[in-house]
């Protein structure tokens, strides 16, 4: 003990104590910390994460950082969950072509298995919304469309328009058209709130209501018959006014010109 106390004023004593403390606390943590998560990783899952990480490094990391931590070019992906990746990459929005007010939908670049790998990697960065299964986004009740319509008009139509035709937001941003959107992606959009959209987690909008909205959007934007004829884009009175001026009054004026040009010719007969 004497030896130890004799060296207690040695210049490196503080460092040694610090090292001991670190080893002790680290060791204690390793012994007592919950280890379930690490154990739950199946080998297939970690393989997907590895593959996803490789894809991520090539296609995403230039904006989102090598570990998805985000850079000045793109936001952090920690905690966005696999649903966000499935939506953004599955609708072709990511990887983005260029910066701008909003990233548009386009032809997806990755195949679904690749998207799943990317999603697995991003999900491994932190817990977030999980990609839904088919049962989650498919409504079973017959009155789902009517109920979904009510929910849609309360929560969605102020930006996406009554028929899901989309609408403008500020500074060049917009709510996109919902035509031909995969039901899974509609569900994921509500879960994750991509870009300018607010998110509707299960705590504010239960899964069943989201199913009903999906059913309504699928019906309205894809299957709904148009008993009145051409829908003119379902954009309300603006396109109706244009149609009325061009094909209503325009045609009538053309006819008036024709009628006036074909009159009785008293002089020539």
């Amino acid at each position: 003990m004497k030896k130890l106390s004799a060296r207690r004023r040695h210049p490196l004593a503080a460092l040694v104590v610090l090292l001991f403390a670190l080893v002790a606390s680290g060791g204690l943590y390793a012994a007592f910390a919950p280890a379930e998560k690490a154990q739950a990783d199946s080998s297939a899952q970690s393989l997907a994460i590895d593959e996803g990480k490789r894809l991520f490094a090539v296609g995403c990391s230039s904006c989102h950082g090598l570990n998805g931590q985000g850079t000045t070019m793109g936001p952090s992906l920690v905690g966005v969950g696999s649903a966000a990746v499935d939506f953004q990459v599955g609708t072709g929005r990511m990887p983005a072509q260029q910066p701008g007010a909003q990233v548009p939908r386009k032809q997806p670049i990755y195949s679904q298995p690749e998207i799943d790998q990317l999603a697995a990697f991003v999900a491994s960065l932190g817990p977030g919304p999980v990609t839904p299964t088919k049962d989650q986004y498919t409504a079973t009740e017959t009155d789902a469309i009517a109920k979904g319509g009510e929910l849609f008009r309360t929560n969605c139509s102020q930006c996406h328009n009554f028929a899901g035709a989309g609408g403008a937001l500020t500074q060049g941003k917009y709510a996109p058209s919902l035509e031909n959107v995969d039901p899974k992606h509609i569900y994921e959009a509500m879960q994750t709130g991509p870009q300018n959209m607010p998110s509707f987690p299960d705590s504010t909008m239960p899964e069943k209501q989201k199913q009903e909205i999906v059913a309504f959007v699928r019906y309205q934007a894809n299957e709904a018959p148009n008993p009145g004829g051409l829908s003119l884009g379902s954009l309300g009175p603006v396109t109706e006014g244009l149609f009325g001026w061009i094909f209503g009054l325009g045609v009538l004026i053309a006819i008036a010109i024709w009628v006036a040009a074909h009159t009785t010719k008293a002089k020539k007969s």
């Binding site: 060049g172 019906y219 709904a224 309300g236 009175p237 006014g241 004026i253 009159t263 009785t264």
Partner: protein
Amino acid sequence: MSSSASAKTAAPASTRAKPANKAEAAADYLDGRLGIYSLAKSNLRKIFPDHWSFMLGEICLYTFIIIILTGVYLTLFFKPSMGEVVYNGSYAPLNGIRMSEAYASTLNISFEVRGGLLIRQIHHWAAIVFVAAMFVHMMRVFFTGAFRKPREINWIFGFLLLFLGFFDGFLGYSLPDDLLSGTGIRFMEGAILAVPLVGTYIAMFLFGGQFPGTDIVPRFFTIHVLLIPGVMLGLLVAHLILVFYHKHTQWAGPGRTEKNVVGMPLMPVYMAKAGGFFFLVFGIIAAMSAIASVNPVWAYGPYRPDQVSTDAQPDWYMGFAEGLIRVMPGWEIRAWGHTLNLGVFIPLMLFPLVLLMIAVYPFIEAWITGDKREHHILDRPRNAPVRTALGAAWISLYLVLLSGGGNDLIATHFHLSLNDITYFVRVGSFVVPVIVYFVTKRWCLGLQRRDKDKVLHGRETGVIKRLPHGEFIEVHAQLPQDKLHTLTAHEQYEPVELPAEVDENGVARKVGLMTKTRAKLSEGYFGEHGQIPKPTAEEHQEITSGHGHH
């Protein structure tokens, strides 16, 4: 036959021969009671000049008739009630939804009533075309100066018809109580609330309490189907009677004067033309209604004050009001416990006065010209550059505001920023009309110069001639006499002179502000920058006699 016998048996012996057939007998019967012969004699041979633009008013008349006919059919099935029902009908996506009877009966008209949807669409498309046709008709009258004496009152009637058409269209749009129409009524409530001091009271009175209440649809229904159409019908009849009374205007041309009308008689030519044109109009409107959907109420869903859809615009004619509201900054003044909502008050209460200016324009122009004569020969728009430029500026203001009303669709379809469009409309509603005014005026003056050149130097023949010394010239050909007449028939006003500064007694004359203003305006209209002096006969003589250089 003795006279006593005839008095006994055939006392009312006709002065005419016995009717040849039953039709004549029937006509005789009616003439004896309604006096149709003298009416027909004086009117059936009425002459109307021929020009396509004179048929714009006919489009208005016929679409109005179509609207009334289809509207009557719709009233047979529409229930103007805000009573709540749960829908159970053939449009499955709304089954089980709570809605008003008005909305349910509109769905019923669209899906259950035979021909109901087609009639509804004819009614709505006809209304859109009706107002558009009135707008174009008014512009035709404006740009050709057909509003001048004796037609100023008829111009006002026409303007009132347009104005009432706006409102009745808006009320009709509000009746089905779908999400779009309810949003429109909400907009109107906001406009009423912005009236200083009494706004709240008027809104409470109109809605029978808080918005939306249960009274608004039945009240709007009565105004929409009875009050406004009744007034419009009266104005329309007066408008047509005045057209008959004043006789139709005509374009300048050989043989056409301020005292005659050159054209075709009503019977048989215009009876056939106008009758046929009615069916053409009805046919086009019916075809439109069969092809394209208008106001798909089933897609909007029933109105609920907590719901709204984007693309909630009014029909096109109210689009300027929508635009004004969209671009106006949300200013307000709070004082003495009251809020003056300038953001709504200025665009909806004050700014429409600017648009109303066109209604009083005939009186302003008559005051400037001081012309008390009747005018039945139309002006070519180029020959009244200031008037044409003012009209074009007015239209451009309307269009700028209209684009403000559709700013969201312009933003999404042309990939622009909504905010930029809003800023553009804010500045543009002041700047664009001024630019349009000057461009149009210069354009008119250019066309006047072109006319003058044609009159004096003839038209270009396209024949190139080489002179002995090598110069190339294009041969010009003299215009025929009738063309020369048409191009020079317009008269040109002299600008009003200010009275001399001192009167005949050498006393300084007091010149009122109005007189000065009038002289200034007159100079602008008819001074050297307002019109190109038309060629005189002497100028023409001199150039065509061969002494000129051409």
